[in-house]
Amino acid sequence: METGFIIEKFILVAVIFGISLVIAMYSTYAERKVAAYLQDRLGPDRAGPFGILQPLADGVKMFMKEEIIPTTSNRWLFIVGPGLALLCACIGTAVIPWGSPMEIGGKIVPLQVADINVGVLYIFGVVSLGVYGVMIGGWASNNKYSLLSAIRAASQNISYEIAMGLSIIALLLMTNTLSLKTIVEQQHGWHWNVLYQPLGFLIFMVCSFAETNRAPFDLPECETELIGGYHTEYSSMKLGFYLFAEYINMFVSSAVMATLYFGGYNYPGMDYMATLLGPTWAPLFGTAILFAKIFFFIFFFMWVRWTIPRFRYDQLMNLGWKGLIPLAIANIIITGIVIAIIEKF
């Protein structure tokens, strides 16, 4: 491993990490603005022009607040919980192909931190780990409500993980590979996977709403039911970490949805643009298109949050186990049959 390789990967990791943090920061701003406009009001517009500096103000507020660690809590786990949540949220960005390989000064630089050939499995592993942050936070708080919420969060997460995995299996029957890079390359032009797997995409989207604890599946953290849920006892930056981890999770889920089903950095007319812009700028244009798709999905997350009331716990489990799993299995069967028929002829 030459130093050139290490430096290249290091720069890529730093850039991606920085971008995901900035996007998560401005997602908080966008959430408030979108919520406001959907409710016939203006969002924050006093901190800087159009309220652009509001996330900075929120960050400063988070740092300046008093750090309270309850004496009856499990101190070590209390501190580890939010850190774990943020860690699992951030490492998900490592396997997503952000653009086709670009050429800088004659050298080809892949715009993906790690092109492992089990990319999809890695994403699922990281998502499953994400539930630990919530569970540990709820347990370490030594608070009945936090524990209840952590239990609910854990059960919700594992229930919807199954349906998510099953919907991906149908996709894998088509793509024959787990590597995210290959999956995106197969969706060249306009052959996006959503056209071949609409039901799979729907199931995946519903499950990613549940995985990110986002309305209408936000029972673990809602205020009306469980005070603050698993982050009741947290203050200052630890709370900031939990909230941030939720937004980074949302960003990563949107990126995975865009990559697996909506063609990643592909768009109709990309061959023409590749000849027009050359090998250095065309991949960056693809990256910009990918970010446009991701922002649309983030907007979609927020749009749904402010439309639908949340699910009751039993309705949630009902939907996960008795609704989505049979549907996902039916999807696999139908996909298998169709592929077998197509291969026959």
Binding site: A36, Y37, L38, Q39, D40, R41, L42, W303, V304, W306, T307, I308
Partner: protein
């Protein structure tokens, strides 16, 4: 035991099981999302205070003001009816006799040398305005501005009396 319905307003709620389209949740969700997105394109109801202020109605009771008559003389004669009628006991005054050289300042021989309203006690009911026989006090000012100390909320004559005639012109 079936009770007889007295007003016929009772509505029997049908607890039908959900149809397939309803159980799917998706059509209802899509309809809801259509409604939500339509609000994105409507005008916001927010009033951008303090650049834009909402208009008060004509009956709005704001800060008090002690009026003057056509000749610029203060109307208030310190009769004490406003203090008597105030349910919050917010008004206090000390009366004084008008000297010959002050004839242009006050309408009658008795006037209020000190007139104080404690704005924190005042409930802006307007009973003082109704009680005044000389039409001297009106509640037609703006909302009382915020301040830091309790003592600064006891408004004296300097803040309450209306501006003299020359300044009004």
């Amino acid at each position: 035991m079936d009770m007889e319905s007295l007003s016929n307003k009772k509505k029997v709620l049908e607890q039908k099981p959900l149809s397939f389209m309803e159980r799917m949740y998706l059509p209802a969700i899509a309809k809801g999302m259509g409604i939500t997105i339509s609000h994105l394109f409507k005008k916001e109801a927010t009033v951008r205070y303090p650049e834009v202020e909402r208009e008060f109605s004509t009956n709005f009771r704001g800060m008090h003001s002690l009026k003057r008559d056509e000749n610029g003389k203060e109307r208030c004669t310190a009769c004490g009816l406003c203090a008597l009628s105030c349910p919050a006991e917010a008004i206090t005054m000390i009366a004084a006799e008008r000297k010959p050289e002050e004839k242009h300042l006050y309408r009658e021989e008795k006037y209020a040398a000190t007139y104080e309203i404690n704005m924190l006690r005042c409930i802006f009911c307007g009973l003082c305005e109704e009680a005044c026989p000389k039409e001297a006090i009106y509640l037609d000012g703006p909302i009382v501005p915020a301040d830091y100390l309790r003592k600064d909320f006891i408004y004296g004559k300097d803040k309450l009396v209306e501006a003299p005639l020359e300044m009004k012109k």
